[in-house]
Amino acid sequence: MLAVVVAYCAVAAIGAAFLLTRIEHEAIETREKQIPLILSQTRNAVKIERMSSLVRAVFLTNDRRLERQLQLQIQALAQGFGFDGSPILIDGSKKVAGLAKSIVSAHQQRRDQAVERAGGQKEPSQSLADLSAYEEAMRIIEKMAKETSDNSAFVADDIAAGIQERAVEVRYLVIVFLTIPAILVAMLLALARRHLTAPIVAAIVNLDRIEKDQVLKAATDRPKLKELALIGDAIISYGSTASELRRTNLVLQVLAEKDPLTGLANRRMFEKFLAASILRSTSETGTAILLIDIDHFKAINDRFGHPTGDRCLKSLSDLLATIPDLSNPLAARFGGEEFVVVYDAPSADHAAEYARFLCKKIAQLETTGVDGNTIRFTGSVGVSFTTSSADDPSDLLEKADRALYAAKRSGRDCVVAYGELSNDATSGARANRI
């Protein structure tokens, strides 16, 4: 592309230089040849005019001395035409000088005749010789003048015609050399539109899609310009990185919500779930929390080792993950050995009943330890219940926690419903030891 532009400029410059050099040469020729030509013709015109007035003077005068002087001047002037006059001028001037001589001698004759007449009685004879000589001289001078002015006009016209031709050539040159770039520029703009702006716009649209997490579209034909193609590719690769990041983020988010060991929801997720559940509570369907703690878990860890302790946790969580007959349940790991279940309960009694059921189930669990021995354990459960959607989740949790504490104090492997703890000491749903 650049080479084309440079070549074009070079051609235009050479063309212009060539034309202008030609103009310069012609200007030099004009100055050196044609201007001097015009000047000499002007001089000749002036000399012819001067000759005409000298001839007129010699015709009109009758003074002998003046006649002689004028005639000499006419002769000298006529001799001057020899330098740069045409044959017409040279011959004409010679003839005129001769005619001036005859005018002078005609005058002299008349003067002699006048003297004779004074002496004798002859009749004066009018000599018209001088008049005819004068008229002839004037005719010749007229012809010479016309010749000179025609020559001058010719040369001037020639010069002007030359200038006009050159001007027309320069005009064409300029028009052509300016039109071509104009067309080129138009073409360049069209090309730019296709090869520059289109790929850039496509890249911008792709960026937009990345932001909106939509599928990216690669351009159907690759942009001609390498740089733009690279940009397009970079954006697409950025797009795939971005979507990978998004997926990873999702995974991380999920991971952040799951307890890695047990696979149950973690505390964060549980709290979100609990808040949502409370908001759903009505007088018909409330929210129940069952807070479960493994009894003497530390002793299990000390006796059998942490890996075995983990297995116990795993078997409990497996149980909790598959508990049946609950509406909108979520089992979550609440702490080291604490687990929690939240669900939509119809009544507090239902929650208490289910908690007792869970306790039994927990006691039936058998976990195979690392050394191969079978381990059994029991759990304590604290229960809380609410029907009010305005209840604070942490309040409800605290109630369950106090219930759990009470259950532990009452000897573990039992259930304490919060309602019973505070009000009804005689209620049948007291902690049960299985």
């Binding site: 001047q73 000298a76 001799q79």
Partner: protein, 251 residues
């Protein structure tokens, strides 16, 4: 520090004044060739050549001084660098061109024979056999008579006015010289009895055009003189001087 800057300023001023100082041109002419160059009764150098030289100096923005030199020695003086230019109606010859640089012509004329126009009508060499022809020594006209008018008697004088005197004193029958110069002569009281004899002599030996001469090799000065000549012809200064001396243009 102070001293060097003072020296620098002085050097700069000297250079500037040197650049601004006008060029000086020394001009030589004969002083015995009226009306082109002559010394009048008061001893002043006047004439067409002198006026043209002054006009050229003004055009060249130079200061000019004039001196008169005898015609036979005028080129010797130029070669000895006694002056820079000769403006003295010098005609072009090959021999002279070998010793000086000539400018373009500043006026053009012919050579003619002058004498009793009634007695002599034919100016051909055969017709003038035995006739005494006066000429100034060292002029092209004198050389021409020696070459072309072999049957005539050449009477040499030391300059043109002296050659004219020979004619007046009847020590010669005819006078050969420049047509324009002789026109001035014939318009005087003494010259009024004479007239042009025959046609003007046009021969390649006898180009009577007047040129300015500079030292051989000084092409640059001659180029500037030619340029100045062109200028004064274009701007009318030449014509004004011409009109003071002659009734028509002698270029």
């Amino acid at each position: 520090m102070m001293r060097t800057s003072v020296i620098a300023i002085v050097a700069l001023l000297t250079a500037m004044s040197a650049a601004n100082a006008a060029e000086r041109l020394r001009i030589a002419t004969e002083g015995a060739y009226p009306p082109f160059n002559l010394i009048d009764q008061n001893g002043t150098l006047k004439g067409f050549d002198v006026d043209i030289a002054k006009a050229l100096c003004e055009q060249l923005k130079s200061e000019c001084t004039f001196q008169t030199v005898e015609w036979p020695k005028i080129i010797d003086g130029l070669e000895a660098d006694k002056y820079d230019l000769i403006v003295a109606s010098m005609a072009y010859t090959k021999e002279r061109a070998a010793r000086v640089e000539f400018s373009a012509p500043y006026y053009r004329s012919h050579s003619v024979l002058v004498g009793d126009a009634d007695k002599f009508t034919d100016s051909s060499p055969t017709a003038l056999a035995g006739v005494r022809i006066a000429a100034a020594e060292g002029t092209i006209q004198a050389d021409y008579v020696k070459q072309a008018y072999t049957q005539s008697v050449l009477v040499l004088a030391k300059d043109q006015p002296s050659a004219q005197q020979l004619l007046e004193e009847k020590k010669a029958d005819l006078l050969i010289g420049d047509a324009i110069e002789l026109l001035s002569f014939m318009e005087t009281e003494k010259g009024s009895v004479y007239g042009y004899v025959g046609d003007p002599i046009s021969s390649e030996f006898l180009q009577s055009s007047a040129h300015i001469a500079a030292q051989k090799g000084n092409v640059e000065l001659i180029a500037r003189v030619n340029d100045a000549l062109k200028q004064i012809k274009l701007n009318g200064v030449y014509d004004k001087i011409n009109d003071q001396y002659f009734p028509f243009s002698i270029y």
